[in-house]
Symmetry: C2
Subunit: 347 residues, 2 copies
């Protein structure tokens, strides 16, 4: 093979209206790493002749030229997409997150594409692999996995990854989460200060790390106040508003019902609102996660700014391009907004 | 070129974990139509030798074999994606729609990817083109366009398209919409039956066809009842809950305020709830679009089952594969659910 870099650059430009092939496409078609593909096309040494030939043939077939790709990138004509993978499309928490992500991406000429794992590991894996193969500019992942070791290969294949809302485990990764401990502690301490001693915890799936953090903070806050942790007042695993409504009704039917209820996410809070509807003197209620109608309903909530969470996730993703990089987890504050329901005294 | 089909079939299988190249990829790499690529690889006549050579070289470089592609499709191992393009990620209407779409797709082994046009025509165009280039299995589009002629090329390029929530204009296309006229007529007729004569209309952007249909039905229902259409009681173009709250506050401050308010979508309804918060005797209120907390807030709404809208859209997409196809628009019923706010008598 004696093809020179100039030959490659003279290949006809791809037809208008079609996706511009990237160096990554060439590397994959030739079965080599991106670094090798780049070295081969730039005429650098230490590339076997057979490899160089394979890379150049692939570039020629795909209509790839180093020049056109660079100029496309400069003009920003190719659609560059960032994938956001969430756990449940029916949860408004993710709507707020997605809106923050979308607006931040738009400022950088990037397009959001969103998909849901439905909290299923196999679905999450399929979505992430699809984004890697499609050469997404980055992936923002609310992971349903307990352990994130398998995600190491995403970064290895050149796609920046930021974990969102759930802390990394078994992997060094950038992450943006919520300060669940401080938020939950504030809620429980507020109940304690108002004289509550029977404080219930109603949560979503235990395997989700924010749920574990909020439960641990609940238990620690009770202990700090010298209150016993009564298992009869703890319900975990309510993954829908309907399930949570049933769980809260059961708590209200106890011989000694709770005088205060902490609901560990927005789905559970909606369930509690449903359960309280026909109750003359409902327990005090503080829910984790702010939601749009909390004001209208007078529901006290503690939570983070979900749009800010999205913006911070995009910022973390874009920082990845800046030279030497040390993965970091950033926690956004969760603030308590009193609206009436959380300030009720024990009956 | 004397390569035979057998030679192509013996090309090494693509590496595990990588996207399986499709016939479409080969056709694009070779710069020919899919039909030509298929004929060339299958050894059919009427293909120029040079073309056949180019197609086979592309297939070889990409690692495409007719056999592996067919078996992948049968086993369903490749991720097949349907794109859902909505107008606003912060609107729960689309959450319900997306959930219905996602569940229906899952039954067919298809994955949903979602993106928002933010009601911007250029963004919608970029998203749709990206889905076409990525060989999406189909596109479900809540279009922000007034006229859909430019979408004809989507189907021409082999990607099935179904318009959702907004009726097709200037194009023969499959569509699934809501019966906006019947729903709105029921709401206004209910107000009239309770003796209201000053009935306000507060709506979103006029250029969105459901908004135009709901406004026309409002005007027609007033005319049918022999009531004048008072421009002072009509506000259009409130695209956020915050804008709608301001608009409703202005209506309440009129010398002769309305005794009933029809809010033409869920964002506007949320705004009205905010505006009514500190009002001792608010007007009657019926909102278009059901929403989760309508029960808890006692808000009467008229609307369709958004999850059913999503399921119907997927069904329309999948029907596209069944032989001869005549595009059709299906309208889902909008039903009125009385919860108190709509049944208030005039002050």
């Amino acid at each position: 093979m004696t093809t020179t870099h100039d030959d490659v650059a003279r290949t006809p430009a791809p037809r208008a209206g079609h996706r511009v092939p990237t160096l990554v496409d060439v590397a994959e078609a030739a079965g080599v790493s991106i670094k090798t593909a780049s070295r081969a096309l730039n005429g650098e040494p230490n590339v076997a002749d057979a490899t160089r030939g394979r890379v150049r043939a692939a570039a020629s077939t795909l209509g790839f030229t180093l020049n056109s790709a660079a100029s496309q990138l400069r003009r920003g004509t190719a659609v560059r997409t960032v994938g956001l993978v969430v756990g449940d499309l029916a949860n408004p928490f993710y709507m707020g997150l997605a809106t923050g992500v979308e607006h931040a991406l738009r400022e950088h000429g990037l397009q959001l594409t969103m998909a849901s794992s439905d909290e299923d590991a196999a679905t999450e894996h399929a979505i992430v692999e699809d984004l890697v193969h499609r050469r997404a500019t980055g992936i923002l992942l609310v992971s349903t996995l307990d352990e994130h070791g398998e995600l190491r290969s995403v970064g290895d294949r050149g796609v920046p990854l930021v974990l969102v809302d759930r802390a990394p485990s078994g992997i060094e990764a950038d992450a943006v989460v919520i300060d669940n401990v401080a938020g939950t502690t504030a809620a429980i301490a507020g109940f304690v200060a108002r004289g509550h001693r029977r404080i219930a915890f109603v949560g979503d799936l235990e395997r989700l790390s924010p749920q574990r953090e909020r439960y641990a903070a609940y238990a620690a806050a009770l202990a700090a106040a010298g209150l016993p942790l009564d298992p009869a007042l703890v319900v975990r695993g309510s993954h829908s508003a309907v399930a949570a409504e049933g769980a809260v009704r059961d708590l209200l039917a106890l011989d000694e019902p709770p005088t205060a209820v902490f609901t560990a996410n927005n789905r559970v809070t909606i369930g509690a609102i449903g359960a309280f509807r026909d109750v003359a003197h409902p327990p005090a209620l503080v829910g984790f996660d702010h939601f749009e109608l909390a004001d209208a309903l007078g529901i006290t909530t503690v939570g983070a700014d979900t749009a800010a969470l999205g913006r911070e996730a995009v910022a973390a993703l874009l920082r990845r391009g800046d030279g030497e990089h040390v993965p970091a987890t950033r926690a956004l504050p969760a603030t308590l907004v009193a609206r009436g329901s959380g300030e009720r005294a024990p009956a």
